[in-house]
Symmetry: C2
Subunit: 199 residues, 2 copies
DNA sequence: ACGCCAAGTGGTACTGGGTCCCACTTGAGG
DNA sequence: CCTCAAGTGGGACCCAGTACCACTTGGCGT
């Protein structure tokens, strides 16, 4: 029982494999016929499990293509922490987002189809925003201690304003990138988005 | 038939009255027992109409307390248009948001309970974000023509980055205001949030 | 005043996401 | 071999949202 921490046990590995496979199938279905036109029943049937079990793996239909976002939270925190403490938070946030732009840099079609999915499915957009909210909540305290504000932490809008704006810039950059069908560098677009706030 | 434009006809006025009354009842129920614990059936029963009719008035359960947001879109556009064309968009956006801070300035409890509702109901937050998205889409083209970018409009992330960040700042300010139980000036908080981006 | 049309209303049934519970299997360990 | 925990599937259930239908009602022209 205490060795489970050392290495992923069999059960955990099969569970992860299951998640990955279901996720792949769902991604394909969503791309083919749209997220909102795909039922959980269909995904479950295609993946060879029951509706019940599907919901044991994923809390909601949309999560099936968004789980990887959650795992990103700690990585974001680490990336931000790795930045020098006297750097301007805005710059640190920009550099933290290198995580995003680097990710899938070799397979832009994946990111593109993801953007398309977001564009055409409001419920997916909503879920996505929810995930980003968790990132925001993770980063806000880190920025807050950088600012060392005179106000009590949660009554100072500044840290949250910085983090939320940075994420908004990221989303704007990605949307512009998607509108251009993936032409142009995501880094350049993000730079432009985040620089226009400080010209 | 062509005089309907002149003055609201009887039907329209009763319709508006109905909306207002149902909205008031729903607001009370949401505050009392939480939004997610309140069913449409309950609202309908309490308001004396059928579930069917409820959905004819409001597209979704949450809309019952968010309809006033939609009507705000054109007002936002007008407020932004009223700003001088050579003003920095960020400043114009700040001034545009005076619409928000002025609204309910006399009845802060209303805004406070609204913030509480947002805090405890993720689905409400999602809907709210959706409404704000429509504001964003309205304002982005206005900012775009101010910037007169070198890129084709929808491939330049800058206008959307500005608008979305401004809204993010507004949300951060409101959240901080809610955390302080309404102490402090919303204008000051919003100023602080939007200035930290440009220190 | 009469009838007509449009708009509004309520009822019913249906889809689909999400939760809960129960019975069954299966795999790991004593 | 037995046991217990974890995982699985099935079914019932709740609720939001949609579609369709029959019915009423209010406004309007003749």
């Amino acid at each position: 029982m205490n060795d489970t921490a050392k290495r992923p046990t069999l059960r955990q590995r099969t569970r992860q494999a299951m998640r990955d496979e279901v996720s792949a199938i769902a991604t394909r279905l969503f791309a083919e016929q749209g997220c909102d036109n795909t039922t959980v029943e269909q995904i479950a049937a295609e993946a060879g499990l029951s509706r019940t079990t599907f919901f044991r793996y994923f809390g909601a239909k949309e999560d099936v293509v968004l789980t990887w976002l959650e795992d990103l939270g700690p990585a974001l925190v680490a990336a931000f922490r790795a930045r020098p403490g006297d750097e301007h938070p805005w710059t640190s946030l920009r550099r933290t987002f290198d995580l995003f732009t680097a990710m899938n840099a070799d397979a832009p079609e994946r990111s593109l189809s993801f953007m398309r999915m977001l564009q055409e499915s409001p419920t997916m957009t909503a879920r996505y925003a929810e995930k980003q909210q968790t990132w925001e909540d993770l980063l806000v305290p880190l920025v807050a201690e950088r600012l060392a504000g005179d106000l009590p932490a949660d009554r100072d809008p500044a840290p949250r304003a910085l983090v939320a704006s940075a994420l908004a810039c990221y989303n704007a950059a990605m949307q512009a990138w998607g509108a251009g069908e993936g032409t142009g560098s995501r880094d350049d677009l993000l730079d432009r988005a985040m620089n226009v706030l400080r010209d």
